[in-house]
């Protein structure tokens, strides 16, 4: 007897229940892959040390360094000291913890190092049907391959290190159905910004989003990762996309993907993952992709977003909007286009994969960034950096006047010294425009790599279609 039709999420969840939930206790959920980085792990390892506990499954745990890690080549490879002393200590601490607990570390000089959410898919260790967690909210990125992936806090990092499990209540499900063709110059970043604009920054709280529909099926894997990455910006802990031929083609041959007969077996299991016909979601949202324009944020959360051709909203009597406008130094009612910009940041786990670098390079090739503007290009991983260099993209960026850095989180959260100065405007391909996110007093406008590159050329917020 076939059971009730199940969604992708329900299939992955059920396959990982060590014990189901009851009224009194949450489910015990098994974790297939635990990613660890330098900022949210030290206190977790300390807890294990205090209690004399080992890491239960070191082989299912992979560490790297990205958040407070420098992006300047000389500080990684050239023997120059890491500029921020406390960051250097944090990096040392991760090295010590991984050595002591037997956890594999893709360390400072590893050619597989990078932003934790970029290297998982890069290496092919992010796979459909897995449960993946990390002490970082953008773990939702990995859901693009059909994994259930979500961010956890440091206490939970310790739980997973010690038991390979988490105590979890089952979240609700939200289907975001997108149909229609994205117009030229409109990217996956614009799509997810439009979705967040519709849902609001708390709209997905308590839910796992599944992105569905023809538009989503037509996205390549890098684009799907951009979409799932920002699920948390709508409050959802996870975003998922059902695996398909695009997913399998992407994973085939990656360093840590299964091989030979194992690959065949894996793919046939992965084909069972997409939701059954008739499976029900708790909520649904429908969107027409063909109506979406290149999007850009004007305010201090990712839901404060307008088309690049649009106007900054008037605050009226809304204190929240008034405060955001005040922080941003922008005037309600004015067009967002042509707003002068000081910095362009092309990077982060949202938009620093190879296709993002290619699309920005397409705009920048043969052009120069505006006088007085700083542009930082920070690839998502060392693998992507090498790939970009093999394609000559580094030359395009350098000749345009941009800086070309080693991989890491960099200016996305400004922990490693890469920051935007107080009062300055940055158009960034990252995911958060919160007050001070890119540095105390920094003003962030989130946009796609195309919009960021076009803005770099003009020194003002620019509709990328004008330069394509």
């Amino acid at each position: 007897m076939p059971g009730a039709p199940r969604t992708l999420f329900e299939k992955v969840w059920q396959a990982h229940e060590v014990a189901g939930e009851s009224a009194a206790t949450p489910a015990v959920l098994y974790v297939d892959l635990h990613l660890v980085h330098e900022v949210t792990s030290p206190q977790a390892f300390a807890l294990l040390r205090d209690r004399g506990l080992p890491v239960r499954r070191p082989g299912l745990t992979l560490a790297t360094m990205d958040h407070s890690t420098p992006t300047r080549t000389e500080q990684i490879f050239g023997g120059a000291p890491i500029a921020i002393e406390s960051a250097a200590r944090q990096i040392k601490e991760l090295e010590r913890n991984c050595a002591e607990f037997g956890v594999e570390l893709l360390g400072l000089r590893s050619d597989q190092r990078g932003i934790v959410h970029v290297i998982g898919p890069d290496l092919g260790i992010t796979q459909p049907g897995k449960t993946i967690v990390c002490g970082d909210s953008h773990t939702s990125t990995h859901g693009a391959v059909g994994a259930l992936a979500f961010g956890i806090g440091t206490t939970e990092v310790a739980h997973v290190l010690a038991t390979q499990c988490l105590l979890q209540r089952k979240p609700r499900t939200l289907a975001v159905e997108v149909e229609g063709t994205l117009r030229g110059g409109v990217t996956a970043k614009d799509l997810i910004l439009a979705i967040i604009g519709r849902l609001g920054v708390g709209g997905g709280t308590g839910h796992v989003i599944e992105y569905r529909g023809g538009t989503v099926r037509n996205l390549d894997m890098d684009e799907r990762m951009t979409v799932c990455n920002m699920s948390i910006e709508a409050g959802a802990r996870a975003g998922m996309i059902a695996p398909d031929e695009t997913t399998f083609a992407y994973l085939a041959g990656r360093p840590r993907a299964p091989r030979g007969a194992d690959w065949e077996r894996a793919v046939s299991a992965w084909r069972e993952l997409p939701g059954d016909a008739g499976a029900r979601f708790d909520r649904e949202l429908r969107l027409d992709a063909s109506a979406i324009e290149p999007m850009i944020t004007w305010g201090t959360n990712p839901g404060m977003v307008v088309p690049v051709t649009g106007s900054i909203p008037l605050a009226g009597s809304d204190a929240v909007l008034a405060r955001a406008l005040d922080y941003m130094g922008l005037e309600g009612g004015a067009p967002i286009k042509d707003q002068p910009v000081n910095v362009v940041f092309l990077g982060s786990c949202t938009n620093a994969r190879i296709s993002d670098l290619r699309s920005a390079a397409r705009v920048l090739r043969g052009r120069h960034i505006a006088r007085g503007l700083t542009m930082l290009v920070v690839p998502g991983s060392q693998q992507i950096k090498r790939q970009a260099e093999a394609e000559g993209l580094d030359r395009v960026f350098l000749e345009a006047g941009a800086e070309w850095r080693e991989s890491g989180c960099s200016m996305c959260l400004g922990m490693n010294g890469d920051t935007v100065a107080r009062g300055e405007y940055a158009v960034s391909t990252s995911n958060r425009n919160f007050e001070g996110r890119q540095g105390a007093g920094a003003r962030t406008l989130l946009a796609s790599p195309l919009t960021a590159a076009a803005t770099a050329v003009r020194g003002r917020v620019t509709d990328p279609r004008e330069l394509m």
Partner: protein
């Protein structure tokens, strides 16, 4: 973790909605390897100006806020990053409960695991609380109620297991370790 049963305190009010964890504790203070001392940086960019001087107009810097252990905030408190440094900073500063009409998922989990009680209230209660800073409130964790100055008891939702752990000082990791036989059985099946 300190167990939690009851708490009576005046409220301190931050009316902003969508207060994200980057505001609660900015990233530049996260290059630490311990949990201690983060209270000094709580809401750093709102509390201090560029030169590090206290901003007199920020609510936490007012004399009336001293000793308040219940923070009332606008909708969707704690959104953004998963940094547990956010509840650590609040607790280190002396806050033991956060009240809002919406609290982000990861922050809520992190708070519960550290003995900071996330209290989600209905819209009218939320509005009343935002409009009455300094109100004396009593939080009863066993009953899962928040008592307003006029005696109204407002129930709030709390995950029963987290409630049990907080009330009895049960350590969740210790509990998870007692499930080891089932974890081993799962690993043999998988």
């Amino acid at each position: 973790m300190q167990p939690f049963t009851r708490l009576t305190s005046r409220s301190v009010v931050l009316p902003a909605t969508n207060i994200d964890t980057d505001q609660i504790i900015p990233a530049r203070f996260l290059t630490t390897t311990t949990r201690e001392g983060l209270g000094a940086h709580l809401f750093a960019d709102w509390r201090y100006d560029e030169r590090g001087a206290a901003r007199p107009d920020f609510v936490l810097n007012r004399a009336a806020s001293a000793g308040c252990r219940i923070l009332v905030a606008g909708r969707n408190f704690g959104c953004g990053s998963s940094r547990e440094h956010a509840p650590w900073a609040l607790l280190d500063y002396g806050v033991r409960a956060v009240v809002s009409t919406g609290i982000a998922d990861i922050f809520r989990n992190n708070a519960l695991k550290n003995g900071l009680v996330p209290v989600i209230v209905d819209e009218p209660t939320g509005e009343w609380l935002l409009a009455h800073p300094g109100a004396e409130l009593t939080l009863d964790l066993a009953a899962a109620t928040l008592t307003l100055p006029d005696g109204t008891r407002v129930p709030f939702p709390i995950e029963p297991f987290a409630q049990h752990c907080l009330l009895n000082g049960v350590d969740e990791l210790g509990y998870l370790l007692t499930r080891t036989p089932e974890i081993e059985a799962y690993e043999r099946r998988a």
